[in-house]
Symmetry: C2
Subunit: 123 residues, 2 copies
Amino acid sequence: MKLEITCTRAEANHKQLLNCMSTLASMDINFKKMSKLLSIAGNEVRLKILYLIEEEGEMCPCDLADILKMSVPAISQHIRKIKDAGIITSRRDGQTLYYSLNSDETMLFESIFKSIELIKKIA
Amino acid sequence: MKLEITCTRAEANHKQLLNCMSTLASMDINFKKMSKLLSIAGNEVRLKILYLIEEEGEMCPCDLADILKMSVPAISQHIRKIKDAGIITSRRDGQTLYYSLNSDETMLFESIFKSIELIKKIA
DNA sequence: TACTTCTTTAAGCAAATACTTAAATAATAA
DNA sequence: TTATTATTTAAGTATTTGCTTAAAGAAGTA
C-alpha cells in the first residue's frame, strides 16, 4: 500500500493517519456491505417498505402499492433492490408473493426503526 | 385522505391496510428525516468519513483526503452534504476546519458502527 | 504587499436512480 | 382453452449523484 501524504500541516499526525488507513483497509468489506445496506434503506419508499414488512411480518407488492399509493411496477422494482441486497426473501401463496425480512439483517433495521419511533415520541 | 384500494385479493385485510396507511401518515416526517440520514450514510466514502470523525473525535478535509486517497474537492463536497444534513459541525483553527459529529445524531451512527465492527468480528 | 496553504464553490459530464408505460410470466378460475 | 389476477421485466426518460478541473475565499507567513 503506497501512501501519499499531501497535507503539510504541522498538526498532521502522520502516524495517526497511517493508523486510520490500515484500520479502514482491514474493514473495507464491512464498509462496502454496510453502505450498500444503508443506501437501500436511504430511500423513503424503501424505508417504508422495510418498516411495513418488519411490522406486519410479511407483505405482498400489491398491498404495498395500495398503502404507499404507488404503481405496482415501481414497488416491484424497489423490492427487487431490497431482495438483491439479501435483506428480504419471498414465499409464494398462490398468485401472491409474500416478502419478509431475513433474520441476518433484522438487527440493524430494528435499531433504525427504534430511532424512527424515538423521533416520533420526541416530536 | 382518499383511499384507493386496488387489490382485490380475498386475503387483503382492508382494515390492516388502512391501519398501515394511517401509521405511516403519522410518521411521515420521521421517515423523511431518517431516509435522508441513511442516504447520507449510504455511500461508502461518506460512511468512512463519518466513521473516522466518530473514531477520532474530529477530522479536517485535508487529512480525510489523504486517508481516503481522494481529491480534496471530492471530500469537501461529501462533507457539505453531511453538514447540510445537520450531522456534523465545524470548528476553525487557523486555516484548518475541524468537523465533528453533532451529539443529536451520534446515537444512530454509533449503532451503525457497532454493526460494522460486529461484521468485522464475525468475518 | 505577495505568496503559500486549507478549504469551498462552480461548471461540466458520465453514471446511477426512480419513475413511467407496455409487455411478459405465473398461477388461478371459468 | 381463455380470461383474470399478481407479479416481474424491459425500455424510455428526467432527475440526481459523484466525480473532475478550474476558480475563488480565507487565513497565515515572508
